[in-house]
């Protein structure tokens, strides 16, 4: 177990990177506490797997340092770093039994056989693999195999960090949920540092205490799920997290006020706005409501999502989405919209006004 500190980390897959665009991972510094559950969230190709492989030692960084408990491990092998990693596709050793698969990382490190037995039994119990322990691993279903991969990650009691690289990709939806709660439970029980890479916001938000959102090789925001939801630091986070994503509308900042199509809109961070750059206001559909007066809009489409309805409205040439609770009256065509001032933010050049960059 260890605190992981990443300092000015950069990585490029080309041997001599020329410009910024050659870097798969742009400059990044972050600290992860010992025993925390973290998620790396971002679209495909945003650099999250690169970051993960840098931490695990499968890749060596072009620049910067990685420290485990203050010890520089940037150039150590995965074995020296003493980490565990679970991959996107289940990796099992076909010719071995489930028991031998789980025992493999311990045997490679010369752990005495008696200790291996108790350790494997314990892990198999946690993952509900006890019944299949002496069967050949190749005969298991995809989720059974992925459980073995998880088990191999958990079996060593002293690993610094366990990393998951989209581990539920090949799992059936109904089992995904089970395995996810199993992981959460395992984290609570073992208190290991865990880093979970995913492009699925539900997985990230349910698993992690802190979610790191990445885009185009950069960390856009690191925060708790609530922070990401309520105060997205960048319009990208607003779009990427939440379903449907945040409404982002062009606006003007003039005289300490945000104006959307000439209509003044109250925003929580208006004081911080510099008035420079491309200004936008961001408000989540959850915080838009139907009002008697305010922003005039036309209802274009209504979609039923079960407990609430998603209303799509057009106002001054822009689409605004809002959520209505089940049973609330859906207005006919022309109506007015109001934004909750506490949850409306001004963004300048994509970043929230007043952000420390």
């Amino acid at each position: 177990m260890a605190e992981i500190r990443i300092e000015n980390l950069r990585h490029s897959y080309s041997a001599n990177p020329q410009g910024e665009e050659d870097y798969a991972l742009k400059r990044l510094s972050i600290t992860w506490q010992d025993g925390g559950a973290y998620a790396l969230l971002g679209p495909s190709g945003c650099g999250k797997t690169t970051l993960l492989n840098l931490i695990s030692g499968l890749l060596t960084p072009t620049e910067g340092r990685i420290l485990f408990d203050g010890r520089d491990v940037s150039h150590s092998s995965p074995e020296e770093r003493n980490i565990a990693q679970v991959f996107q596709f289940p990796v099992i050793y076909d010719t071995m039994t489930v028991f031998d698969n789980l025992a493999f990382p311990l045997r490679n490190r010369g752990v005495p056989e008696s200790e291996i037995k108790t350790r494997v039994a314990e892990i198999a119990d946690m993952l509900e693999l006890t019944k299949t322990l002496h069967k050949r691993a190749s005969g298991l279903t995809a989720d059974g195999k992925q459980k073995i991969s998880l088990g191999r990650g958990l079996v060593r009691p002293d690993v610094n960090v366990i990393m998951f690289d989209e581990p539920l990709t090949v799992i059936d939806p109904h089992l995904k949920w089970q395995l996810r709660s199993k992981l959460k439970e395992l984290h609570l029980r073992t208190k290991r540092t865990m880093i979970y890479v995913t492009h699925d916001q539900t997985e990230a938000l349910t698993f992690a205490d802190q979610v790191v959102v990445m885009n185009l090789g950069e960390v856009v925001q690191a925060g708790t799920p609530v922070e990401l939801f309520e105060r997205p630091q960048h319009t990208f986070v607003g779009h990427f997290i939440g379903s449907p994503g945040m409404n982002v509308l062009p606006c003007e900042v003039r005289g300490g006020k945000a104006l959307f199509a000439g209509i003044p809109v109250e925003a929580a961070n208006i004081q911080a706005a510099s008035g420079r750059g491309r200004a936008e206001i961001g408000v989540r559909p959850e915080f838009v409501s139907i009002a008697k007066s305010g922003i005039a809009a036309e209802v274009v489409r209504v979609a039923d999502a079960g407990r609430y309805r998603i209303v799509e409205a057009r106002s001054h040439g822009h689409t605004i989405k809002l959520l209505l609770k089940e049973g609330d009256e859906v207005p006919q065509s022309s109506t007015f919209l109001a934004f909750d001032p506490a949850h409306t933010q001004v963004y300048e050049d994509g970043w929230i006004a007043g952000a420390h960059r």
């Binding site: 499968l58 076909d94 010719t95 493999f104 990382p105 191999r152």
Partner: protein
């Protein structure tokens, strides 16, 4: 699930059946025809039952060539399969050297068989050949036209040179197909190179190795051209393998009956041993 049965579907199989009949069953039946009858030409045939089969199965010469064939094929498999696998493991996985290696490795496979025989024939000549003269220069007496050991050595070396490439290419294709995640997981799990080979590469190569063993078994068991050009089955009959024996019987002696029986026994041995190899190598799969 409901399956509909429609016997008209047999008509769809008919063209394939006819083709197989023409290129396999009909010629084979001709051989069967000869093997159970006696002929003195003029298309006159007399029933002879199992006489030819009994004669072949009790034939000392047949026993000798079968024994030689089994030893030869056994040695070929023992050398070529591990050697091919080892070469494939040493080959680069990416970079400009991949194509260079692949072309070099594939070259022997492109040489016509009788040319291979001639090449080695000349190369192993004790007076002018590079190999023959070289070995003699080391003080080891070498003459493949006189000494059986020299002849065997040359025949095996020639086959290894000619056919190990096939094993290499098959193994290399199998190795390249193993996903990176396996190697990464092995690194994370702290596996030594031997464990990576034993628990990842070897199991993943099982299918290609089975194919390699079967192909090398069948081809080496039927070897004819290279040996006939190199040694002609000699010295004496020390390198007379089954196919050479068969050709001498059929074309040299015009013993069509015994030769046909020989062919069928030969074919059945190959069929049985192929089945045996396949079953042994795939038995884990069935579990």
């Amino acid at each position: 699930m409901n399956k509909t049965f429609n016997n008209k579907a047999w008509w769809l199989v008919l063209p394939v059946f006819l083709m197989v009949a023409f290129n396999a069953l009909v010629p084979l039946m001709t051989v069967v025809n000869y093997s159970i009858q006696e002929t003195f030409g003029n298309n006159e045939f007399f029933w002879s039952g199992t006489t030819w089969f009994e004669q072949i199965l009790h034939d000392e010469a047949f026993h000798d060539s079968l024994r030689r064939q089994l030893i030869f094929t056994g040695l070929i498999l023992l050398i070529e399969i591990p050697l091919g696998l080892a070469i494939a493991l040493c080959m680069p996985r990416n970079g400009p050297w991949v194509s260079v290696c692949l072309v070099l490795i594939a070259l022997p496979l492109l040489v016509p068989w009788n040319v291979v025989g001639s090449m080695w024939n000349i190369m192993a000549l004790p007076d002018i050949g590079l190999l023959g003269k070289g070995i003699n220069a080391l003080g080891i007496p070498f003459n493949y036209t006189r000494q059986p050991i020299s002849a065997w050595f040359t025949v095996i070396l020639m086959d290894v040179w000619h056919w190990t490439s096939l094993v290499v290419l098959l193994c290399y294709a199998g190795l390249v197909a193993i996903p990176d995640a396996y190697y990464q997981a092995a690194k994370v799990d702290g596996a030594r190179p031997w464990a990576v080979f034993r628990y990842i590469q070897l199991p993943k190569l099982k299918h290609v190795l089975t194919i390699a063993v079967l192909l090398r078994f069948m081809d080496s068991f039927m070897i004819y051209t290279e040996v006939i050009v190199l040694t002609g089955g000699g010295p004496g009959s020390t390198t007379k393998f089954l196919s050479i024996d068969l050709v001498q019987k059929a074309l040299g002696g015009f013993d069509l009956g015994p030769a046909a029986a020989f062919s069928i026994v030969y074919f059945l041995i190959i069929l049985f041993l192929s089945w045996l190899f396949y079953t042994l190598m795939m038995r884990e799969e069935a579990k």
